[in-house]
Symmetry: C2
Subunit: 265 residues, 2 copies
């Protein structure tokens, strides 16, 4: 009756692993955060690159041990068995610039896709001690408490986040984003994946981004959706491992529709 | 021999008060942070306005009791005895948009000016449990540990913060900022006063902002300067209670000079 999707017991087992992954990545990222090393570019020897790789390797090892037939797509080490039924999508440090500059808003993203559909997502902010958990068909939790996105906001009442206005390529993306900026209550910057968590919590209404990779958004989808929000690309299509990199998340479907109209105007 | 400036004992007494002010503001701002109230504009009844006012009132009461002849300039209640030798400059919640959207990067700013010169500054991030203390002639501390700004970075190696690119008025400010954006390693957004703390810690190299009030920057000056950084307006003039709202902070004097040249090019 569940058409081949994960059972509740499957999801419990996957969630158990996902939490272990977050717990394994956390001490690695913590140990390199604000470490005073002179090399801070994204070179092989930079703390952020070392932390990224060590954390992803730790998570990959745990996945291989628990579910050797699952696929893995990671920001650092690429794709392994990406055509498997289940694919883990990992970003050990989302918010590289936050990490490099000592701002504790970077997060570890752990997503699980089943045949192209996101069924589980964890957003873990280890420095802040804050963790969002989204599981398909279950309510999203923030540090163990159920959260809900804010409903009923119009565009002019909406608090909108993007990581930076510079993330929108000149032309279509930048123009569409500029249109939205003029209509919302206020654009706010610099929260990376944290903004999607705040949207799930009901204190942010819109997040609009572009040039995103699958590892940037797969974990976010179950978190946003389990809180009652909507997250798609700018045309309203579901996000998947392949995509055009454009992401639009909203507290409710009506605000999502209004933002989509402006983006494609 | 100290030409009428505060003695070490004076500064100790002022610092003691400043820490009491931060401790008094913290429970107020904490209690309103992420409080689910529907009104979130800067109206009289919004949580951020209520928290701002209650926190500033609590701090004013303590100052009046300890040093009744000192002046006070606050974001919420304006100026009292602004021509006194000593003037406290208060911003209970710097980073209103962070506060409103549930992002814990807002800070409480407590500055003390002596005849127009900043002699003490506290940047307190109560949700993060992080506090910077700057006292004229003493090294800046971050949670009790001495910190130093990063030296020797060139513009193209510099991590630069601004709260938002939308803070620069069209024309001179926006054009000057755009020139700087093109030369630095990366512009990053959304940290408000926290960015100046990170500059003191040596993980951020430049902060450039405009349209700032005295309550936005007075507390930052001793923190930045005590860590070895430089903070002035865009022409290199000292910041004071009166100013044109433009602020430039850098990890060292050479980077500051290079940024200044580009801003006024």
């Amino acid at each position: 009756v569940n058409s081949g999707g994960p059972t509740g017991a499957d999801l419990d087992a996957f969630l158990d692993l996902a939490l272990h992954l977050a717990d394994a990545a956390a001490p690695v990222t913590r140990s390199y955060f604000r470490r005073p090393i002179d090399v801070d570019a994204k070179s092989d020897r930079s703390p952020v690159t070392i932390a990224d790789r060590e954390a992803e390797q730790a998570m990959r090892t745990l996945i291989e041990a628990a579910f050797p037939d699952h696929g893995i797509v990671g920001e650092e080490f690429g794709a392994t068995r990406a055509d498997a039924d289940y694919v883990w999508v990992l970003d050990p440090i989302d918010g590289t610039k936050s990490f490099i500059t000592g701002k504790p808003l970077f997060g570890t993203l752990i997503g699980l896709m089943h045949r192209g559909r996101a069924v589980l997502g964890v957003i873990d902010h280890t420095i802040l001690g804050e963790r969002w958990i989204g599981v398909a068909g279950r309510p999203t939790t923030f540090n163990g408490e159920v959260v809900e996105s804010r409903k009923g906001r119009t565009l002019d009442e909406a608090w909108m986040y993007a990581t930076t206005p510079h993330m929108f390529p000149d032309g279509y993306d930048a123009e569409a984003y500029a249109r939205l900026c003029e209509e919302v209550k206020s654009p706010v910057y610099g929260a990376e994946c944290y903004a999607y968590g705040l949207l799930a919590n009901g204190t942010v209404d819109l997040v609009v981004e572009s040039t995103m990779g699958a590892y940037d958004y797969c974990a976010l989808m179950p978190v946003v959706e389990g809180a009652g929000g909507v997250i798609t690309d700018w045309q309203g299509r579901p996000l998947g491992l392949e995509g055009d990199g454009r992401v639009l998340a909203a507290g409710d479907a009506e605000l999502h529709r209004a933002a989509m109209e402006l983006l494609s105007a």
